[in-house]
Amino acid sequence: MLELHALSRHFGGVKAVDGLDLTVAEGQIFGLIGPNGSGKSTTVNVVTGLFPPTSGRIVFRGEDLAALPTHQRLRAGIARTFQNIRLFGQLSVWQNLWVAQNSAEDQARHGFVARWLGGQRGVRAEIAQLLEFSGLAHKQDELAANLAFGEQRRLELARAMAAKPKLLLLDEPAAGMNSEEIGQLRERILKLRERGVTILLVEHVMELVMGVTDRIAVLNFGQKIAEGTPAEIQAHPAVRKAYLGGDPS
């Protein structure tokens, strides 16, 4: 599904991501963990095209993404959420989802004028479904800026889903959530997988990562120091060292 080949992104002398090789298979929930500043968010930003890579290749479904600008990568099937929530605060919840319906399928299905002026029945039904999925149906006319923190996180996930992605990049979706909310998020992530969405989950909250992922890669200083199943990772000495800073035994 997604392959990173020797991917690097440097900022001046800082090697935020340094020679990263990664393969996410279709249908997987793949965890990407690591201490703060280890290059997880930078990886997401490079995959979505917000920064060009310094070197290396990104291959998505057999196609090199280098030439595609961010908005076309979304059309190709890659959507994301942000670590620090970035909703359109002065648009309503409903409008936040409306503007995000930019999948290739939506573009093909509706004519140019109809798409830009919007409002067809199919569009409304899809938004209603997303609102239902996120438990935000009763808030659809509220301004996104007025939502509570947990609701904003849910809306961001729904907004990413509005583009019908094949690959979803979640950048610390559980940050700031209590354990009940994390439980709900976990349910949602598993439901998305049932629908056939491949997920790359960047996360600190081990409770979530260890519970839902099929495979995990660990980054430290921009390099992959370990990869394996959650059980393997938990037992891995280099991982314990990077996280706990020292010999755990």
Partner: protein, 288 residues
């Protein structure tokens, strides 16, 4: 009565100018190029009615097209820069247009006199309205037909998906592109529509004043254009209209009896208005 009709003409044309900046401002871009598009529209319509003998309506269509075309051409390079850099880039464009018309001569003989633009002397005798016997009231109604049409168009855009997309781009470009919005297409289209509206406004302006020159399109006009939607607020198109009435009818005409004190009060009252309503008369809905 003619005084009020004349005032309504000014308010109408300035509303078009303000609306042209409004749609660009929705995408978060502060453009000082609107006076340039206004100038292009004014000279285009004036030359077509005076030199080519066109009726005003098709001439205004040509103004809209020329304003849109030049705005689209400016949009591509200008919108690569943001914030203050964009202000400077669009300001430079506006001044470039003004200096072009300062040096632009194209006169032909019409009987004993020569008509057409004559550089720094300006373009006199744009007499479509008096030649066809239109009264001030009729001219005023004609102008407002376009104002209402432009307001209705932008009102409708605001309600459509396109309007939400414009505001999404204005709010967070990074998030907008991450949900698949093509920033260039959105910004350039807003600029182009703004250019068309400014072009029509310019064409109408040229005909009700009958005389245009380069100073009619200076930095002050560019500043007014972008100040209207800012003072009026971006909730909807009526904010811009309110701001034009506030500035043109109240501050400029209404306070004329104050003599020289008016100029002092003019600035003070705008500062006061912005302090009382920081997000404009009809500001965006408040955050909690």
């Amino acid at each position: 009565m003619d005084f009020y009709f004349g005032l309504a003409q000014i308010v109408g044309v300035h509303t078009l100018l303000g609306l042209s900046a409004y749609i660009v401002l929705l995408t978060g871009q502060v453009s000082l190029a609107q006076a340039g598009f206004f100038a292009v529209g004014a000279y285009t319509a004036g030359m077509l009615t005076v030199l080519a003998g066109w009726h005003l309506v098709p001439a205004l269509g040509a103004s809209a097209l020329s304003g849109a075309a030049i705005a689209c051409a400016v949009g591509f390079p200008a919108l690569r820069v943001k914030g203050l850099m964009l202000v400077i880039a669009t300001l430079a464009f506006g001044e470039g247009v003004r200096l072009f018309f300062f040096n632009f001569d194209y006169q032909i003989a019409r009987g004993d006199i020569k008509v057409g633009p004559l550089g720094g002397e300006g373009f006199r005798q744009i007499r479509f309205f008096p030649e066809n016997g239109w009264t001030t009231g009729e001219v005023m109604l004609f102008i407002w037909l376009f104002v209402v049409a432009a307001m209705a168009l932008l009102w409708w855009f605001d309600r459509s998906r396109y309007g939400s997309v414009l505001r999404a781009v204005g709010e967070d470009e990074l998030a907008a592109q991450s949900v698949g919005i093509n920033l260039t297409a959105v910004k350039v289209s807003a600029m182009t529509i703004g250019g068309a509206i400014a072009g029509v406004g310019g064409g109408l302006y040229a005909h009700y004043t009958t005389h245009i020159e380069h100073t009619s399109f200076n930095i002050l006009v560019a500043t007014f254009a972008v100040a209207y939607p800012i003072v009026g607020g971006l909730r909807n198109v009526f904010g811009t209209l309110l701001a034009v009435i506030f500035v043109q009818a109240f501050l400029i005409e209404g306070l004329r009896f104050l003599g020289d004190w008016r100029n002092l009060l003019f600035g003070a009252l705008i500062v006061l208005a912005m302090n009382l309503r920081p997000s404009g008369f009809l500001g965006a809905r408040r955050r909690a």
